[in-house]
């Protein structure tokens, strides 16, 4: 396979590009060059700035400083349409497909072929079929997109890009939703596109894919390029180290004393159809147990299965008691609660006032026939004080709170049920650093008070800073467990990437 394109002049490049959102700089003087006939891998942790970089390349965002170069000339794309017109096409991770239209209609959406006043269905179908053959994808151009599997949708998205005769292809984690076989087909296709002279940007969390396909690798960390070199001679381990190599800050309180040996939660053989296979683990009193892994590795689904919010098989014991399946109420009665990662869609009633949100989970504690509103008000006073919720007025709608205060309200709501075991999914997603610190303090004090906490987190620092023990999930399975001094970023990343424990390889 031809890895000769490295020296060719770039088709699309970024030169010293910075990007700010308000006062926060998310990209800092990034240089990146996509050359014809070459695959460029862009890797980094969540939040490192990959998405922003791709959006700037695809014309979705403008750089705050620096410039985008098309064929060596400065080109400020006014929009993604302008970028597409210049042959730069981005394939999104969240599909931009019209679900109710057919494959063919999607592929030609916005640039339908016509014969006179009518659509030329025959030609469009024939071309779509050709494209699908190139992708080795066996779907009918006339099938409706909503009926397709996720991986087929990905293929349609790629076919759509190919139909636009892209010279530069930007692929945002295209293999995240594909099976191994489909990934193989896609990588072969990328090989062929490269051979045809396309310039390709490829992102993936799976470093083996990167090693297999990339000609050049750029590693982003905290919005800066920390490594940029030819792929040849770059090992997967070096990529991982480059991605995570950063000092620990003192965001985290000292870890609470070692947990007791008493098991409070015992999960055996939990399987969530299509998401989690045969996961087992235990949780001890006073322990903070973190679940790490890539987005989509099945952590949330496992936890929802455990508390009964999702259909699952397997056994869950709280102490000696076995929980009935699919009954969140029973889990709650047993002292087990789950705090969703999706606080806007699943956590809070955004149009309801704080009080009604606060007591919704534990409403039975405020009800003796009628709801005791005074007790509710007292509870709100306490919650505002204990959790430091900053609200303009007491009767404002929860949706008007800032993200961090919403998260604290959600925590307060959950704690009102006086749980013994708390599962918190992404406790600090999308909130500022000060609030993060408060939430870490709360988790810490819960464990110190003899409760048990599970933290599901995609933030490496959080996992390392908080947990006594870490379970890493990959592709719906428990990939490994780390304890004490073994908890460090490299080990977690290796497990999450499916590389096995450090020291075993290399």
């Amino acid at each position: 396979m031809g890895r000769t394109g490295v020296t060719a002049p770039p088709a699309l490049a970024l030169r010293r590009v910075s990007r700010r959102f308000g006062p926060i700089e998310v990209l800092h003087e990034v240089d990146l060059a996509l050359r014809p006939g070459s695959v460029h891998a862009l890797i980094g942790e969540n939040g490192a700035g990959k998405s922003t970089t791709m959006k700037i390349l695809g014309g979705y965002l403008e750089p705050s400083e620096g410039e985008v170069l098309l064929q060596g000339a400065s080109a400020a794309f006014a929009s993604s349409e302008a970028a597409e017109a210049a042959g730069v096409v981005m394939i999104h991770q969240e599909f931009n497909l019209a679900e109710q239209l057919t494959v063919e209609e999607n592929v030609f959406l916005g640039r339908e072929l016509r014969r006179g006043p009518f659509l030329d269905h025959r030609t469009m179908q024939a071309r779509t079929a050709e494209l699908l053959v190139r992708l080795d994808c066996r779907i009918d151009p006339r099938s409706r997109v909503s009926d397709l599997s996720v991986s087929d949708k990905q293929m349609v998205e790629i076919a759509k890009a190919l139909a636009r005769e892209a010279r530069v292809l930007i692929m945002d984690e295209p293999t995240a939703v594909l099976t191994r076989r489909e990934t193989g087909v896609l990588l072969e296709l990328i090989d062929r596109l490269r051979a045809e002279g396309a310039a390709i940007l490829f992102t993936s969390h799976k470093l083996d894919e990167v090693a297999r396909i990339a000609d050049e690798v750029t590693v982003l960390r905290d919005g800066e390029v920390v490594l940029a070199q030819e792929a040849a001679g770059l090992t997967e381990d070096r990529m991982a180290v480059a991605m995570v190599g950063r000092e620990m800050s003192d965001l985290f309180p000292p870890k609470p004393a070692a947990p007791s040996t008493e098991t409070v939660l015992d999960v055996r053989g939990m399987t969530v159809p299509g998401r989690v296979r045969d996961a087992s683990f235990v949780l001890r009193r006073g322990e903070v147990l973190a679940f790490a892994g890539l987005v989509g590795s099945g952590r949330t689904e496992l936890m929802e299965g455990v508390v009964g919010l999702r259909e699952a098989t397997g056994a869950v014991f709280v102490g000696e008691r076995r929980l009935p399946r699919g009954d969140f109420g029973a889990a709650l009665d047993a002292g087990l609660v789950y705090l969703t990662e999706d606080r806007k869609q699943r956590g809070l009633l955004l149009d309801k006032p704080l009080r009604e949100n606060l007591t919704l989970l534990a409403l039975h504690r405020f009800t003796r026939g009628l709801i005791d509103k005074r007790a509710e008000d007292r509870a709100l006073d306490e919650a505002i004080r204990d959790f430091d919720i900053r609200a303009a007025t007491r009767d404002m709608a929860a949706g008007h709170l800032s993200g961090g205060n919403q998260q604290k309200l959600l925590l307060a709501k959950t704690m009102l049920a006086e749980p013994d075991i708390v599962i918190i999914d992404e406790p600090t997603r999308g909130i500022d650093i000060g609030t993060k610190q408060q939430i870490y303090g709360i988790i810490h004090s819960l464990a110190s008070a003899g409760r048990a906490v599970i933290v599901v987190s995609s933030e490496m620092q959080e996992v390392i800073g908080l947990a006594h023990r870490v379970i890493v999930m990959a592709a719906g399975r428990v990939a490994g467990e780390l304890e004490g001094r073994d908890i460090h970023e490299e080990a977690i990343v290796r497990l999450a990437m499916g590389l096995g424990r450090s020291g075993e390889a290399a």
């Binding site: 919010l309 969140f328 109420g329 709650l332 789950y338 969703t340 869609q345 699943r346 956590g347 809070l348 009633l349 955004l350 149009d351 309801k352 009604e356 919704l360 989970l361 409403l363 039975h364 009800t367 026939g369 009628l370 709801i371 509103k373 900053r390 303009a392 007025t393 009767d395 404002m396 709608a397 949706g399 008007h400 800032s402 709501k413």
Partner: protein
Amino acid sequence: MTATETQARGTRRGMRLDFHVLGPVLALVALIVIGILLNPNFLSYGNITNVLARSAFIGIIAVGMTFVITSGGLDLSVGSMAAFIAGLMILVMNALLPTLGVSVATILAGMATALVAGLVAGAINGLLVTRGRIEAFIVTLGTMGIYRSLVTWLADGGTLSLDFDLRTLYGPVYYGGLLGVAWPIIVFAIVAILGELAMRHTAFGRHCAATGSNEQVARYSAVHVDKVRTATYIMLGVLVGVATIMYVPRLGSASSSTGLLWELEAIAAVIIGGTVLKGGYGRVWGTVVGVLILSLIGNILNLTDVVSPYLNGAIQGVIIILAVVMQRGRAASR
């Protein structure tokens, strides 16, 4: 957003909210004033009793409808259901006549029939919506047609009439009263007060609002969403039974034209009262005000010659649309 901005927004919203709370009440007061100005008999004991008593059927049903709509549902079948239950009651009571005679027992049996039939009909709607996962609109559109046909069939295309002597015995349930207040008014008041309590002060009411506001959040807050939904339909069915118990003694008959369009009047009253059609927020006292507004429009038009009776529907329509416009105003301020 800074603290001051938030503060300002909160206050502004608060003022607007007050207007929304008062809107239906102001409309009601305006109608009453117009009524007094147009006809001196408007405030007479007789007229007030008439208006309140005839509001009772729709009113009792609309209280139940408030819960269904608040939890994100809809029930189009209530009018037909009332006609069917009325027909069933009359058949049962006439059939029991040879054994139980013209007695209170016969009437109690008829009442029990109405309540059980309402409960079963409500449960069917509820289970089809929750277990069957069918849109409430479709389910209840279907049952609406079914009950309407059933009553036509039961009556053989004509009118089912309660035995005359039974009617005489049963009549006081509509025409009689306690301390000068007619029974339908008393029952309506009790249902409304209990409904307001349930909506505002019980876990059930809170769960209805949570389910209608965001079903996922409710589920993730350990609310048994399906049970809540089903319960609202059952409650509405039972209340349709109660309304029918009050309706049958009035004319002692049921036909295929009984309860025609009651469902739309009930839904309109609920919406005029400030309950949000797509669910999440309900107000029982608002519904009561809505029912009274709709009744008064008809009453005032009958008491005067100012507006052509042909325009009765148009005036109701304008008021319903105004109510919805006001609702949208509130949604926009969120």
